[in-house]
Symmetry: C2
Subunit: 364 residues, 2 copies
């Protein structure tokens, strides 16, 4: 890592591979010998069309996305998809089920619940227990159009280590874990993800959606805006209007980088190693403890607490001074949170664990 | 200009000030001594919050935006605002009027016309005449909630040199001319603009809206998604969810740059000089001619044709070889189009005019 850079445990936007940032820097005034920055280029220009195409092709390759799925690059973040999901899927069948496993899962459910004439049902929730685990014993209605879940809960540090076994189409918000572990895309009807955690700078959202669902426009609610209709971007290869070119360009570079590292299987192995380092230390610590059920632990977002607010604050302050940054926990959990996405080098996690050990010796 | 750079006449995304790009390049791996790229930083971090604040303050200063207007940074481009405008303004009064002066004005009208129960009326149109002028003798209904117009038509190269005198609130899409000339914000109820022409890389859209209209939530249609509701971002200082941080950061740098140049009055003078150079040449040329009514000419987008398709193609090809790039006209107009936004140096226009003179001597 460059000397003046820090290990940044931010939950999002978050670290990007240094190699990618250097390439962005190098080409900032002149991309692909065009005499223009990638940020100055028409989205209909040949160099940008090639970026759009390669980014899509690489994502298909990395996630092994079957041909019967669209891959879309859209704007507005996962929060906009909270509306797009019911708008694009509840045109005929008005029934949808939601699993409330965290703050964003709850927001997705709230958004769907706002619209008249829809039948939105909670299939499971851990809200009453402060989202410390993933809801089990789900009550998914067999005739629902879809069941929505958040596969990894950024704030609370839980994830679905197994996905529900159901015949109901699953719609998954994977914002904080996409490309961190192997998944079977066929298990899902729709996957969506804001890019700003594991993929690229904020501003682009990935939607992977089964073509039969998108192509059947009777599934679209009549008041769905043209720009929120997945079919609009599917028919236009994500170029219906000017796309967020820069984040898509960086996504392409990150996909190239990930492929070079060996793809998702390889990065999953590294991610599991990184998470194990931290969890093993926490499980053996007398000072720090995990805040969530062991079987539902995320390997991306790892909250931990000392149980003493002053000590937590001291930890965050001293860690920052050591170049271990953005470790303060979300206000809904408190304490600390280490977000260790794909771009966090294992050296960063090692340095964090060393620092935690030292802190425990000094304050235990 | 750096030696390997070209004069880029792209209609959008388009040129950015070289000085700004160099600053972006310099700070790409370490913004404001944070040890992180601006693209890796939490949107709740101090350095990013400062960017959000300064960008808004500078835009307020540059456009002299009164306190009774919100300034919002949102996603989705002007195309998403085509839905946001009726969604946020037609909750009570269902009547809205549209002036159809070009392709995007037409799209805005089409979008508003898609929703049941709204009363959308055309107040004037130049569609039948291929948008070669700005519609006059408008039929604006005095009880309409708003009248929508596109102040500058990117494809056709026309603009409103005078805005309609009416008591009906004016909503203006200023995507392709914002910050190019002085305007009186008080003359408008809402101004919106995609950033990718005169402000920043694609991915952020500016909305400037009168607070009384936004705060009266009865104006919002019931099926307006949370993320498309202006009030959502107004109440959260454009930080309701993760914003498109990078384009907003570049926007801030462009605003600083513009302020240093003397603000909008100063850049307007330069823009008028640039446009005059090109129009004077065209008006005196025997080969090239303008495609629009003289009184409605845009100073941002200047289409011109020879009348001979082969000669047009030859012109574009030879100009490109001279580093005068992206001059091909839009398919709806043909011929050539020079987009000379704020960031196009006057030297670029001079070089274009010299080249046109040479081309005319050789092919006239």
């Amino acid at each position: 890592m460059e000397q003046n850079r820090v290990y940044n445990f931010s939950a999002g936007p978050s670290m990007l591979p240094e190699e990618v940032l250097k390439e962005v820097q190098r080409d900032m005034l002149n991309y692909a010998d065009s005499g223009m920055s990638i940020t100055e280029m028409s989205h209909r220009s040949k160099p940008y069309m090639a970026v759009n195409e390669e980014a899509q092709a690489l994502l298909r390759e990395l996630l092994n996305i079957p041909d019967n799925y669209y891959v879309l690059f859209v704007q507005g973040g996962a929060s906009t998809q909270f509306a797009c999901v019911p708008f694009n899927l509840l045109g005929k069948n008005k029934k949808a089920d939601y699993i409330i496993s965290g703050n964003f899962a709850n927001k997705a459910w709230e958004e769907a619940s706002r619209y008249e004439g829809l039948d939105i049902h909670i299939a499971g929730s851990s809200k009453a227990d402060k989202y410390t685990y993933i809801p089990k014993n789900l009550d998914i209605r067999p005739d629902a159009a879809y069941v929505h879940l958040t596969s990894n809960n950024t704030i609370f540090g839980t994830r679905f280590n197994e996905f529900p076994k159901t015949n109901v189409p699953i719609v998954a918000d994977m914002s904080s874990e996409i490309l961190s572990r192997e998944i079977n895309v066929n298990d899902f009807a729709v996957i969506y993800a804001g890019a700003q955690k594991n993929i690229a700078p904020a501003g682009v959202t990935i939607v992977i959606a089964r073509k039969d669902l998108v192509d059947d426009t009777d599934n679209v609610l009549p008041y769905c805006p043209t720009m929120l209709k997945w079919k609009t971007q599917a028919d236009n290869d994500s170029l219906y209007n000017t796309p967020p070119c820069f984040p898509i360009y960086v996504a392409m570079l990150v996909f190239r980088h990930l492929k070079k590292l060996g793809g998702v299987a390889a990065i999953q192995k590294v991610n599991e190693e990184k998470a194990a380092l931290l969890y093993d230390f926490i499980d053996n610590s007398k000072l720090f403890k995990s805040t969530v059920a062991k079987e539902d632990r995320s390997i991306m977002n790892i909250p931990f607490v000392t149980g003493d607010l002053d000590l937590d604050a001291k930890f965050v302050k001293e860690a920052t001074a050591e170049g271990l940054c953005t470790l303060k926990g979300h206000k809904l959990v408190g304490g600390m949170r280490a977000s260790i996405y794909n771009a966090m080098p294992i050296e960063g996690v090692k340095k964090l664990v060393e620092f935690m050990a030292k802190f425990e010796r000094e304050n235990g």
